[in-house]
């Protein structure tokens, strides 16, 4: 299921304008006045800055906001009145997201629909159409290809755009995408073979470039972690870690949150969920005061183990799409690229395979 089309920059601008006219919100990477790249709602396509700087944080916040009200309550006499948050969302189009960010949504879908179906997450997912854009790569901390993704992956997206002279080659990759094409066909031209070929060569070139950053066997890494809970390797990472949540907040796949009640007055309040991080000391503290992850050695191990062993064991995908944001954001320069390389090397030695 794959349909190519071509859209000129002008037509894309028109499309965006018309969508907004009809009440669709459009999210795209922008560059703020301070010069930071970030994903934001736009009012005109000219605000969008595709492939210019890696948006911080990832796209995640548009599906799992840093804080989200779940319900409000009000106590009257002996009764407590609850008002849950609405799970109905207006349609939105995410345009030009990095494939690593888009794939992350699909990876996280699994946990959001496992034992509990998260209506807020699902509501936003259902209301969204996502057009990823072939990534030109950022720097040597990109490693999507090492964890099963790619700069041109369309996984999780309804379409993949590739920027070409004069416009974009667009490949519709889902039913929702094809329906979109059906509905908005008038903006699109047929893709020429040259355009498809040009895009293919561009995509191949980027893939090759990113592959040079890191090549590991994630399955082997998972096996090694499984057998090395108490390995001496972990305490080489813990001491450096500050125990902040910078990595988790910028990560497209980290999805932990904390639920917290806030009083707004006598007998009234709001229950919110807020991003949380397993690197925070308080994350696992029990009511008794005991903390099963007593120090950063244990907490950092948890981060790696969850992403590369626990999550894939349960849901198949590794909980990482190789965006490298954690590497860039870490104040102490903790380096996931290097960590994966090291574990892969250790695993190779142990399993007798090639490093």
């Amino acid at each position: 299921m794959s349909a190519y089309a071509f859209i000129t920059a002008e037509k894309l601008a028109e499309l965006v304008a018309d969508l907004m006219e009809s009440g669709t919100r459009v999210i795209a990477p922008i560059t703020t006045a301070e010069g930071r790249a970030t994903y934001s709602a736009i009012e005109d396509l000219s605000e969008a800055t595709f492939n210019q700087g890696l948006p911080m944080p990832s796209l995640k916040g548009h599906f799992l906001p840093p804080n989200e009200a779940l319900l409000s309550w009000r106590q009257r006499g002996g009764d407590i009145e609850l008002k849950p948050a609405s799970t109905q969302f207006a349609p939105q189009l995410v345009l030009g997201a990095r494939p690593c960010d888009v794939e992350a949504l699909q990876v996280v879908d699994a946990v959001m629909n496992w034992d509990y179906h998260d209506d807020l997450w699902n509501g936003r997912r259902a209301a969204s159409t996502i057009f990823a854009m072939t990534c030109a790569g950022v720097d040597d901390s990109c490693f999507c290809t090492a964890v099963g993704s790619a700069p041109d992956s369309a996984r999780g997206a309804d379409a993949l755009l590739t920027e070409l002279p004069g416009g974009y080659l667009i490949e519709f990759t889902s039913e929702k995408g094809e329906a979109f094409l059906g509905e908005h066909g008038r903006y699109f031209d047929t893709a020429s073979d040259e355009a498809v070929a040009a895009a293919d060569s561009l995509r191949a070139e980027t893939r090759t470039r990113i592959e040079q950053n890191l090549v590991v066997d994630t399955a082997r890494i998972g096996r090694w972690i499984d057998g090395h809970f108490d390995d001496d390797f972990w305490p080489t990472l813990g001491p450096r870690c500050n125990g902040c949540g910078a990595c988790a907040s910028v990560c497209p796949t980290c999805h932990c949150f904390d639920i917290n009640d806030e009083q707004t007055g006598v007998g009234t309040g709001v229950r919110r969920r807020n991003w949380d991080s397993c690197q925070a000391k308080k994350f696992t503290v029990h009511a008794s005061g005991h903390n099963p992850r007593g120090d950063q050695d244990a907490r950092y191990r948890q981060r790696i183990a969850h992403k590369f062993y626990i999550y894939p064991s349960k849901f198949g995908d590794v909980l990482c799409t190789g965006c490298g944001r954690c590497v860039r954001a870490c104040p102490s320069n903790q380096d996931l690229v290097e960590i994966l390389q090291t574990i892969d090397g250790l695993a190779a030695v142990e399993e007798g395979g090639a490093a």
Binding site: R76, G77, G265, T268, G289
Partner: protein, 674 residues
Amino acid sequence: MARIGVFVCHCGENISRTVDCSGVAKALADHPGVAVSMDYKYMCSDPGQNLVKQAIEEHALTGVVVAACSPHMHEKTFRRAASQAGLNPFVVEMANVREQCSWVHEAGPATDAKAIDIVRTIVEKVKNNAPLETVRIPLTKRALVIGGGIAGIQAALDIADGGAEVVLVEKEPSIGGHMSQLSETFPTLDCSQCILTPRMVEVYQHPRITLYTHSEIEAVDGYIGNFHVTVRKKARSVDERLCTGCGDCQAACPNRKIPSEFDAELGTRPAIYVPFPQAVPNIPVLDRENCTLFKGRAKGREKDLCGKCKEACLRSAIDYEQQDELIDEKVGAIVIATGFKLYTIGREQPEGLSGYPEYNYGEIPDVISGLQFERLASASGPTGGRIVRPSDGTVPKRVVFLQCIGSRDPEKGISYCSKICCMYAAKHTMLYRHKVHDGQATVFYMDIRTAGKGYEEFVRRAIEEDGADYIRGRVSRMYRDGDTVKVVGYDTLAGEPAILDADMVVLCTAIRPHKGNKNLGRKLSVTYDQYGFISSAHPKLRPVETTTAGVFVAGACMSPSDIPDSIASASAAASKVLGMFSGDELEREPTVAIVNERTCIGCFNCEKVCPYGAIEHIDVCNRDNEICGHVARVLPGVCQGCGTCVATCPSKSVELQGFTDEQIFAEINALLTW
């Protein structure tokens, strides 16, 4: 779940005239956690209190809010009532709708809304009030008095007579202090020794007073009711148990030219000496700095150069090898009565003070200090009470007294009035005139301050009956002019220079705190002022208490004071001590701070801000019982409940009971509800 009772008082019409009391009660009935809400004409009346008591029982209330007057008015009343009904008194609070609402606003919806807000706020607070119990701390009924001057003597005797044991520590070899150096005392001109000596003997013989002379406070630990004091008993070189005070050793000492401290250096004493004949105890002390034997030892002589006192002592009481002794004492209260020292005019001035080089004190032998004049006038003094010039032993016919030497002179570093100089200068002119009938006394003064019973009359007598000449003005310079002293001053009333020839000049020098006060203050966590005088806990309301609970203060170590004032403050301090000792334990209000030792990080910023020294360090041990850190703990007996530590603690690890963060949060939450 909270079950709060709300009781709205009309206070006759004081509240109900402007506030719709039944409306307030009705409004609160719907408030979450309120079990019962009612209004009544006079809540503080017996029937009103009974309403509260009944409601506590009927509704099993967990808290009570009385919406009435200020807590300063009736909080105690209703806490007592609740207590009688079996409720902890600390879950009862007043909502002040009278002083702060009905009396300051006109009737209307805004006033009603405010009244409701006030009550809601207190209801929310009370929901978070914890039942508190009175803090009880053990008590050692034994007091330490530091300083054996007249204030220390008075305090020690009062406490001991009141039935408690006293440890009296005096730095000098004898008790008595400055008062023992005085000739006569104003305004009665009775002999200082005559009234002081019996009291000194009384101290010595009192069965409940332990006296340590020639001793100092080495260290103080602990807190109110439970102080541990280490006293350093300095080596006297005389075995007190053997000495009979016969004086043979003094007579035998060959080194007799040491200036006598007691005689303000106008006389001399030997190296082994009793400071004055009536000294208590009458046991000599060997001044090792001036002793030939010890000077020889200090220079490394192997053979002792002297030993005459030891030879002379028939009781073999002299012990050259005696060492300082450290004595531990446990006491429940401490009285600081360290007295004062005098401004050391003309010599090197410590602590940034500047002296009076223009007066040539020390250069001109006939320029003397007030204390030196006391010794000249004293029958027990170096001249046997004859007033003569130190330079040639002749009787001075013209004596000039200068007041305010150092005092009230910010330039010299002292802004305060020394209080006693006006009176003793007048006394000196009288003593002088009584002994030198044809002599002329002249006083340079800034102002005459004579507040005190019989004081003004006393000064008038000096002027009118004893002919003292008072000149308002200051002296700018003094120099030697042959046999006389030229005094160059200015008479500000006459508006002309006043240049006098004097045979002797007496400088009334300022009273200053002892250098050791600051050190002692630090040992006791007691604050002192910019000059080094010990500060009271409150200058008006708690004049003889200090910032450290259980530590009191008496006499001139607080501020310049004369003998009656010193004795009054000493008796006041003693009565405070006896009051403290009246029970078997100490009871303290439970509204004190407590530290959550689990979250305290031991930064001790709380200790820095605590005005009372109520924070102690405690060790934290790991599972292997090794010390792995320190955290703060509040001594409930010392804490006064200001809460400054609470606001300072970065990790919110201190709580002030009665005003916890949860209570205040609840109040803000109630006031500013969305």
